[in-house]
């Protein structure tokens, strides 16, 4: 019998998948009915995400709510349908539920043509996204990713904006390449260590017992890094992302940039770095350099943008650089901060895409120079947009701050990575420049001529209730994490500590600047009051 938790976990994947199936099958013949079905398809994962988030026991590491169905899968290869949540996946799972609901509501109200097909594809994507973070088994983790990815291609091709065909082709090839490389890495890992099954825990156990050559491990890590890196838009493999978000319909941009892109980082944190710590350290300098490329290079590109959606897209790619930096440091502080940032980044980026869509709906354009002074007509939208922009640029009070700050802190630990701290911290200026420029161009000042002509044709009204709900939902979550980071931090801390603990000691022992007392001395150092007497 299933327990409630397992039922919710399984349901979060099955319900949207089933809804999607019904919609594909043409069940119900009115758009209205399709929308009602879609509400269920997005509402259930949201509820499951929230409920399981709060039912998760923060004190334990390892998987909870495990659900194993060995008849489903390929037993001969050790592949089982195995679901569960741990401290790293549980906040991401909840985030996927929240963003999914917001994107779903936006899709339901989008008024796209062939709405039933549209909703069917988005529900399928949602099922895949929930599956990615609920999977324990690597095969299914990968499979669910494809479930979410393929609808992306189709939807960009069918409902996309400017040059959708070529964009759809480009990201299909590019991302399939990335997925293929990471798959090769995963398969190699599985084959070489001869684990008893293809899931995270047994793989790490088997790896600890095996004696692989360091060069082999390093090659495997390289495959995973480049493969996942392509999927997460690591510099210089990032150019697909902005084009894709530019062209994609809003809900797809939200789900892809917000949730699906976390797949690769999640893979690196859950699998690659803890399983192959030595290789991670040998690849770390390269990774740090590339991540710095994300922050500085893509940040400068974001400054140059005049199109709102391109700016949001570039900004999101830029901030992924911070997550990579956190992973590249190879310490538990870096990794756990990267996860804090992933959760907040998913929320804030999807909020930005959603608000960009609201703005476009009103101004009939995405060019920022053709807007101006919109705050007069739409004060509430301006309020949301200012909040979202400030969240993305890491203002304290919003979730992003903790992750970014933690990453900076982790970069400062070793003298070898302090160099990256100085340059990565420049990002806080860069993102303020493009973020606040956008606010000023869109909402402040006098309306442009183009906007005047739009204003003379139609009345621009403020956010409606159905628009406030998804945006408010995301903003509330961002504020909650921002004001009370311990909503998500303890479980991340416990889980990461258990995985990265080994790595940390290495760091502490190897290369500490003379000013830093090593970890063992910390106890005495933090109670200076006793030192005095």
């Amino acid at each position: 019998m299933l327990s409630l938790d397992q039922f919710l976990l399984l349901g979060s994947i099955v319900v949207p998948a089933f809804v999607s199936l019904l919609l594909f099958a043409g069940f119900g013949n009115t758009d209205n009915f399709a929308k009602k079905l879609a509400y269920i398809g997005f509402g259930f994962p949201f509820l499951a995400g929230i409920v399981l988030f709060f039912r998760f026991d923060e004190g334990d590491n390892g998987y909870a709510f495990e659900f194993l169905c060995s008849r489903f899968g390929l037993q001969e290869l050790g592949i089982h349908f195995h679901l569960g949540l741990n401290g790293v996946s549980s906040p991401l799972f909840a985030m996927a539920g929240i963003v999914g609901l917001a994107a779903g509501l936006a899709a339901i109200n989008s008024g796209a043509d062939r709405i039933r097909l549209y909703l069917a594809l988005i529900s399928l994507m949602q099922a895949g996204l929930m599956g990615v973070f609920a999977s324990v088994d690597l095969f299914f983790y990968y499979l669910f990713h494809e479930f979410a990815l393929i609808p992306t291609f189709i939807m960009i091709g069918l409902w996309g904006g400017r040059d959708r065909r070529s964009v759809a082709l480009e990201i299909t090839i590019y991302l399939t390449l990335g997925a293929l490389l990471s798959l090769a890495g995963l398969v190699a890992l599985n084959t070489f260590v001869d684990a008893e099954s293809f899931d995270f825990p047994s793989l790490s156990k088997a790896l600890a017992d095996s004696n692989l050559f360091d060069s082999t491990k390093s090659k495997i890590f390289g495959f995973l890094l480049i493969g996942f890196g392509i999927l997460v838009a690591l510099f210089p493999f990032h150019t697909w992302a902005v084009r894709a978000y530019d062209a994609a319909p809003t809900s797809v941009s939200m789900l892809h940039a917000g949730v699906l892109k976390k797949f690769g980082l999640y893979g690196l944190i859950q699998v690659a770095a803890p399983l192959l710590p030595e290789s991670a350290q040998s690849w770390s300098p390269l990774l740090l350099w590339l991540a710095l490329g994300n922050v500085l290079f893509v940040g400068m590109v974001a400054i140059a943008q005049t199109n709102l959606k391109s700016m949001v897209g570039n900004g999101s790619v830029m901030h992924m650089g911070y997550c990579f930096l956190g992973i590249g440091v190879c310490s538990s502080l870096g990794a756990s901060s990267a996860i804090m940032l992933m959760v907040a980044h998913g929320l804030s980026v999807s909020l930005m895409f959603l608000l960009a869509h609201y703005i476009q709906r009103r101004a009939d354009t995405m060019e920022m120079s053709e807007m101006g002074g919109l705050a007069k007509q739409t004060p509430l939208l301006a309020c949301f947009f200012v909040a979202a922009s400030l969240a993305t640029i890491g203002l304290p009070g919003f979730g992003n701050f903790w992750g970014e700050f933690g990453v900076f802190l982790s970069l400062g630990q070793q003298s070898s990575t302090q160099f990256f701290l100085y340059f990565a911290a420049l990002g806080i200026i860069i993102s303020a420049v493009f973020g606040l420029r956008a606010v000023a161009r869109i909402f402040f000042g006098e309306p442009s001529e183009e906007l005047e002509s739009v204003l003379s044709k139609k009345k621009i009204s403020d956010l409606s209730f159905s628009e406030i709900i998804p945006a408010g939902l995301i903003l509330f979550s961002l504020l909650l994490i921002g004001l009370w980071p311990r909503t998500i931090s303890p479980r991340i801390d416990v889980e990461i500590e258990s995985r990265y603990g080994a790595l940390d000691i290495k760091v502490a022992g190897s290369d500490l600047p003379p000013c830093c007392p090593a970890k063992e001395e910390k106890k005495t150092a933090t109670s200076p009051l006793q030192l005095k007497d």
Binding site: H238, V301, L333, L380, G397, G412, F444, E446, P485, P528
Partner: protein, 621 residues
């Protein structure tokens, strides 16, 4: 070491004083967006509540130290605390913030009574009070940084109050970005501090530094001082403050004169044990230079608020110099008296601007003393106080700084003394042009005295500007922190000499001003007599032009260049290129499938030949 405050329950009082304004702004945002009057009353009531709670905290803790903390975030060995540290400095700033904040809230009721966006304004003020109290109470550097950014945000929000003007749109953005440049250094400083001391708690760092003074380095404390330079608008990041005057005048009084910009000095005071001698002398020189430079800039301005803004910069320079000379207590003392008289003058200018229908050019004022006697009288008090007229508040704090400089660093003294001359010169210029002579515009002719909501706070602040220098009048819990440094300065030599010099400074400055502006004139008398000097003052040494040049001619073209590079090399050469190469192979392969029997037999024979060649080792070795 002061004794600790032991009684339980104080933390919940402090927590409520902190959260009260946050709650008020949330309620305003959620429910009172359409109801300006209720929102403004709620905000004023909140600030009243803050004042009451603050006074309770101040007098309960008395002369003890109260420290309390809890875990805010714990990640991989990094434990961030949310905590309060109430010591003498915190009590002083708490008093200044809550008291002046309350007066300015009341003033805003009058000043903003016909504004359409009252909920946004008063909600923003409440967020500001929340963030400012956070800085005041925080017990560790990261928490200070958090609220540091939040005051920056509320300042951004309030500068952008009149967002439909281009000026406000640009100024708000500029203020936030320039502050971020300072915060960049501050952030790095905090990270380095954490890894040096394994803690960011102020008391723990102090103990560690006492234990081993070699832990602090000049780089470290200068990185932290970047935060001060950004927030207190010191050279070279001073450009945002004059532009920030685009916000409503009470905001300029509260945020950009009395409290937020002074938070930089407060930060320095809280971490003063981390400063090395080199860093201190750098800050002293920087501050004194700023004191002089901003004075010159103020002399060339015509906008009443910009003059006051430059005067704020100059006074912050004095505080920085006092800190750099090793008298942090005097810096705080000047912070307090400056808060009184500068808030007074900003509110006075608000009263004038309100009466003259948002006319801000002092050359379009004149003769307002007869029309607005209370405003004029209180403003004059402020002018006298800032000029250091004997026995008013500014006299005590400023002369203490001058005396300290005279006895330790002659260069700094000369800079500061010249600055003092300039201060009385431009302040009296402002006074004469605004309140004396004949009215020079229609709006000045029609001006009438403001309502009691506005003149009331002016009178209270004028009273404090007069007596604020007598620290013995204040209860000990508030000014206790100043006593050490004040008695040190009192024991210094050359007192009488300084009294003479100080008196001369304001008499010369004021007299010159009277000579130029105290009688009938055409145009700008200073410009007529010394055109080069005036132009130089007006140019503000071209800092805005230089930064403007950097942004439009270097940063933006560079960003576009990077964008083109991305398009050319990454999207083009790498992505399209590899797609092109594979397409080329496909094309070649396709050419082989010619669909003609000759071609296939040709390939077939070629294949056989190469196979045979390989087999007999022709191609191999």
């Amino acid at each position: 070491m002061q004794p600790y405050y032991e009684t339980e329950g104080m933390e919940s009082v402090i927590l409520s004083v902190l959260l009260l304004p946050l709650l008020s702004s949330v309620v305003t945002l959620l429910f009172l967006r359409k109801n300006g009057n209720v929102a403004s009353l709620l905000s004023v009531a909140t600030s009243g509540g803050i004042l009451v709670f603050s006074l309770y905290i101040i007098f309960q803790t008395g002369d003890t130290v109260f420290a309390w903390e809890m875990t805010w975030l714990k990640l991989a060995g990094w434990e961030l605390k949310f905590g309060f540290l109430i010591d003498g400095a915190a009590r002083l700033l708490l008093f200044v913030v809550s008291f002046i904040g309350f007066l300015i809230h009341i003033f805003s009721l009058g000043y903003m009574h016909d504004d359409k966006a009252k909920p946004r304004y008063f909600g923003g003020l409440s967020i500001f009070m929340f963030s400012m109290l956070g800085i005041t109470l925080a017990d560790n550097l990261i928490m200070i940084f958090v609220f540091w950014e939040l005051v920056g945000f509320s300042s951004y929000l309030l500068i952008a109050h009149y967002f439909s003007t281009d000026e406000a749109a640009q100024a708000s953005k500029k203020a936030f970005i320039v502050n971020r440049v300072g915060d960049f250094g501050f952030l790095i400083g905090i990270v380095l501090t954490y890894w040096t001391f394994q803690t960011v708690n102020l008391q723990e760092i102090r103990n560690l530094v006492d234990f081993d003074p070699s832990l602090v380095t000049t780089t470290l404390c200068l990185a932290l001082a970047c935060g001060f330079i950004g927030k207190s608008a010191q050279f070279p990041l001073h450009v945002w403050l004059p532009d920030a005057m685009a916000g409503p005048t009470p905001v300029s009084a509260l945020i950009h004169a009395a409290t937020m910009v002074a938070a930089g000095i407060y930060l320095l005071f809280r971490i003063d044990f981390m400063f090395t001698v080199d860093a201190l002398s750098l800050l002293a020189t920087l501050g004194a230079t700023m004191g002089l430079f901003a004075g010159f800039c103020a002399l060339g301005q015509r906008d009443i608020k910009k003059i006051l803004a430059y005067s704020t910069l100059s006074q912050l320079g004095y505080m920085s110099a006092a800190f750099g000379l090793g008298m942090p207590g005097i810096a705080l003392f000047h912070l307090m008296t400056h808060a009184f008289f500068k808030a007074l003058m900003f509110l006075g200018s608000g009263s004038v601007i309100h009466a003259c229908h948002h006319e801000q050019d002092i050359f379009n004022y004149g003769g307002l003393r007869k029309k607005m006697p209370i405003t004029a009288l209180t403003f004059l008090t402020g002018v006298l106080a800032i000029s250091g007229v004997n026995f008013l508040s500014g006299y005590f704090s400023k002369d203490a700084i001058l005396l300290g400089a005279y006895n330790s660093n002659m260069i700094v003294f000369v800079l500061l003394y010249t600055g003092a001359l300039l201060t009385s010169l431009y302040m009296f210029r402002l006074y004469f042009l605004t309140f004396e002579g004949d009215s020079r515009s229609k709006s000045a002719k029609d001006a009438t005295e403001s309502s009691v909501l506005m003149t009331g706070p002016l009178l209270v602040l004028a009273f404090l500007s007069v007596v604020g220098g007598y620290h013995t009048l204040f209860p000990d819990p508030i000014v206790g922190v100043l006593l050490d440094d004040i008695s040190r300065v009192a024991a210094m030599p050359n007192h009488l000499w300084m009294v003479v010099l100080g008196t001369l400074a304001w008499i010369i400055g004021g007299g010159t001003s009277k000579l130029f502006y105290g009688r009938a004139f055409n145009g700008e008398p200073l410009e007529a007599r010394f055109p080069t000097l005036y132009d130089l003052c007006k140019s503000k040494l071209f800092f805005d032009e230089i930064y403007g040049f950097y942004v439009s001619k270097i940063q933006d073209p560079f960003a576009r260049f990077i964008e083109v590079m991305e398009l050319l090399f990454i999207s083009g050469l790498l992505v399209r290129g590899s797609a092109g190469v594979s397409a080329l192979f496909a094309l070649l392969a396709k050419a082989c499938y010619a669909g003609k029997i000759h071609a296939y037999s040709f390939w077939f024979i070629l294949g056989i030949i190469s196979f045979v060649a390989y087999a007999i080792g022709f191609l191999g070795n």
